[in-house]
Chain length 357, copies 4
């Protein structure tokens, strides 16, 4: 089973598109009574307005239920990220750095191993511009360290950066470009930064997801056809994403569910979000067997209705805050801060600048 | 009755926010059987994929029904505007120029009377950046003509341009800035360019509205508190707007209506758009009297549901195409082309440039 | 004698264009032996790599010698400003804030008096974009304070901001726009931010000048025809400028002087800059009388040569660092920081944000 | 002899940095009497205000004299390019297309062979942003043609595009990135777009050079260390460049030469530019032998002077028109137009768009 199928499975079941494992998990839990899924481990920490959720999809059963490839997913949530609060931003960047370091350990990446940071997305389309924006203030060191005496390199990691653009602008699959550059320069790991789609507007620009399962075709705000992961690149790929849009289809689907379900709330999910409708899913179906009962009739009608109101043009519609330009600038700074801190463990900012400039 | 109340009236009745008179009219017609409203005249022309609709709101009764101030509204629709088709863009610009000229005649503006073009909106927020973008390629001539001998000025109009920014960036109401500048420079008319909100995603960046009723508080994508119109400025105000967003609340409301109404289509509106639900409105209510019958129960429930799913943060959500940056650039060029042509009637482009550069 | 004539006088004597009083002073001193000019007071402080020079042009005699209108000029110099050094930037911003506060005291501006910050220049021309860039992160408070209860306003100043654009983009003199807006909104002082031309490349983006003599026609990187000062606006005008270009004519003139003079250095000026040629000026000439001796022959030849090599197109050439985009971003942040600190004396940043957001 | 040495040779002899073969040729001719150099062929055509000069550097002797690698250099000059004249721009784009087609024939490139267009330079530094800007409106077709049936591809060339950024932003040599991508995607030729340095301000943004000798380390406005040419990439490299800056050192050197030489003009060069000083060069020296006479004394003094006035910081200074942002936008459009026309020979614009959109 190819990776993209995990995602498609979720969509075909729930009419929801989300790139956040946290929301996949929540969507399945909403439907099931018990808050535990086989093959999926969830752990949550909270501190000073910031929630860190770590989800491990342990095997194929969990992956099929979740619609997410097996691997590690960490989510940092802080609605304060949308406010212009420098203290909270720095605190979030520190937390992000710690989580990135954990992923580095899992990937057995040494402190002086070269990394390539890839800013995915389209700098000409605001909601898809997170990747290129994160690169703007990234401390790029590879070329400087190549020319420095070894004693100055202690604790500094060679960092390279690339914003490859999108297929429509380059005519080349993003994955092809990255493969070509990785082959030539010899990076030990790739860090992909990408704008994501979430299910809930509450998470826009207030949530950061780190995962080690790479970038799947069709995920994110843009449209990619080639996977970017350890299988295709031959080196670990760590993806860092921030939801910047909700697909309009998702929002309407959720609203309709609510209406159909009478709007009552059968139990809030872990993070205080109102649960939506009471889906009934069948675990057998997730394992590829025929559903034990026919799909519920109302759902079919709903899709007909939706296809009536939603012409093809609607499919490209996104829901986003009016001030998205500003919000992306803010959260991009937080991600850059986290990366700069995680990359050069042995040194603090001041030292780094003293040596390099 | 203040102007803004017309708009609020529409929203309170239909849960719809639209800055297009065309859509106000359509929303009322959807509810009523007959396609004619008292005090409202509608005329439509079609040519080669472009539809021009002229609506006159003749009096207060029409204004209350439509939720639009009395005056003239012209809409140019062309879904081809969203494609990169230079021929169609030029054709639309020519049509726009003709309509602007008609508004100039209504305003009794002479061919050499100075106009001030105001690009409303926030250049830092893509969907609200139409106004400043239109100014980018506008032929600004006032300072050149002041220094030219009179025989060169024949057929050239003094044009000035201002992008005042938004209240959040300036701390000054946009209306105050315009009043101050108009007083000082002595313009004979103001042309306001603004990004609008529509009800339907089909009209995003494919529709241009020209009107002579000015800019109302709360209209457009931004938030303005002060009216910009003939009463406040003392000179004619012609507003040119292009819808770039649909408020998320509107889209969900429409989807829910569809669901409740069983999705059947009671009759397409003039422009081929599917009509939505069968509202029942009471003309008496529009005139300020008590409604002759209680509001339909389902609608009340729907609002409760909506307030449940839609927290305050959702109120600032907009629906917009993924490629909005690109689309705004294209339609801004069309508007600029229409203005440049309409302003200098006696001359064609080539001549204008020959004299001025 | 009109103000612009002071500047023209300097240019006609020395072939130098500079907007910095510091450099005017230096140019005159180079020519005269003694480092003191009648009617001009100079005081210098140095601290940790930052030099603050305060020049008072006391009367018309000093003004004619300096080519600068009578008034106060303060210059903060720090070559470290061109490096990405956050500590130094903050320190410089603090110093700038103190100097601005001094100018506020001179102007008898109360702590809650409204100020209008005007970002002069052209956001489409990098070296002229300082003004609009400074506004990007300015804390604009006027509209928020208008809606706040008085007890929250304590120590907060109403700040408004405007980037009026340049004559070529608006067709309206910048001065006209500012007058119109000031009339309407009732500001108690105007702070103009502008990109300047200096004589020396060493000062580009490393020097900040504050003065209370306003903006003169023809000064700065752009071309303005109308003065912006206390006489034209009726309220105090404080100008804050940063040199971002050297006019190419100035650089060639200096190089030629050096060559003619044999390159010897008759005495370094106060700030360690190499002095250029040994001009001989006649104080009588500065007072409008005929020069007591004919202009030196070589200088005449030099101008002929220069007019031969420098066609009219050359007149619009500027000398600027390759990385000017980056340098302007950095120094704009320092100026914004200084303004934000100076404006709201009673509060620190954190508090300001807590109350306002 | 490595390629970069050709360039260094010119600089060490004349203190001039230029990326234009036309100016190298002129500089040598100024010094020699006869307008012919051994191993260099020059041909000029003029039409309606546009001058096309084709220079062939046939062998190493010519290359050493010219300071340019052996190969073909074509220059299109049109001072009208700096004016906003759409007709002239289109005419120049057509001429450029013809010249590009000639280079394609020399490179034996078939009409359906894939090309990769590389926009060199730094989008954050205006004078170095030509390359990325040219890509903005380039018709990128490779991904579309891959999915099209063969009968639609007739006469359409697969075009890919990449803006790799500069070493300081990526930490990776531009050449490395291009090699990696070319390997992966299988292009048959690379077209590099780059901003150049010229000797004369008259040529800024009014001249386009096409050559088949690739990009040399240290050439252009940016700093590159790795050659990008047929030897390093294994496929033909066609470089298209536009001068956007003059190095400040060059301008001062030229001005000083003029002063020393008494300013007389020993004979205008082919394109009407005033020749500068009368250099005396020794062809033997160019062939690597000792000069037959010592370097002229004044020149030595001049360098001392220059090193006195020009501190290291001055070395990074550029001379550029104040309105460089605007000029680059205009000339980038011309280059894009030329590329779009040259790439798809069998079709005109309209057809291209009809098939692809």
């Amino acid at each position: 089973m190819q990776k993209q199928n995990y995602e498609d499975l979720l969509f075909s079941k729930y009419n929801i598109r989300t790139d956040l494992a946290l929301e996949s998990h929540q969507a399945v839990i909403e439907r099931e009574g018990p808050p535990e899924l086989p093959g999926v481990k969830v752990q949550t920490e909270e501190e000073a307005g910031i929630t860190v959720t770590r989800i491990v999809v342990e095997n194929d059963i969990g992956a099929r239920m979740m619609g997410k490839a097996p691997g590690n997913y960490c989510t940092i949530q802080s609605s304060g990220l949308r406010e212009h609060n420098r203290d909270l931003h720095e605190k979030t960047a520190q937390l992000l750095a710690k989580e990135i370091e954990w992923f580095f350990q899992q990937a057995e990446l040494g402190p002086e191993d070269t990394v390539l940071v890839v800013g995915l997305g389209n700098w000409n389309a605001t909601p898809d511009s997170l990747g290129p924006k994160v690169l703007e203030n990234l401390m790029v060191t590879r070329h400087l360290l190549e020319m420095s005496p070894p004693e100055l390199r202690k604790g500094l990691r060679p960092v390279a950066a690339l914003a490859p653009g999108v297929l429509g602008l380059t005519g080349i699959e993003t994955g092809e470009i990255i493969m070509g550059v990785v082959d030539r320069m010899g990076a030990k790991a790739v860090i992909c930064i990408d704008a994501l789609a979430s299910r809930s507007v509450d998470r826009l620009c207030s949530t950061i997801q780190i995962s080690d399962t790479g970038i799947h075709p069709g995920a994110g705000v843009g449209n990619r056809r080639l996977a970017i992961n350890k299988e295709t690149l031959g080196i670990p790929v760590i993806a860092i994403g921030v939801p910047t849009v909700v697909h309009a289809v998702t929002i309407i689907s959720d609203a309709m569910n609510l209406l159909e379900g009478g709007g009552h709330d059968p139990g809030s999910s872990a993070d205080g979000q109102p649960a939506r409708t009471e889906f009934k899913i069948d675990p057998q179906a997730l394992l590829g067997k025929e559903p034990s009962s026919p799909a519920p009739k109302p759902s079919v009608d709903r899709r007909q209705l939706m296809s009536q109101v939603l012409d093809p043009y609607f499919g490209s519609m996104i829901v986003t805050p009016k001030e998205i330009d500003l919000l992306i600038d803010e959260v991009a700074d937080v991600v850059t801060g986290g990366l700069n801190t995680a990359f050069h463990e042995g040194m603090d900012y001041g030292e780094v600048f003293k040596y390099l400039s």
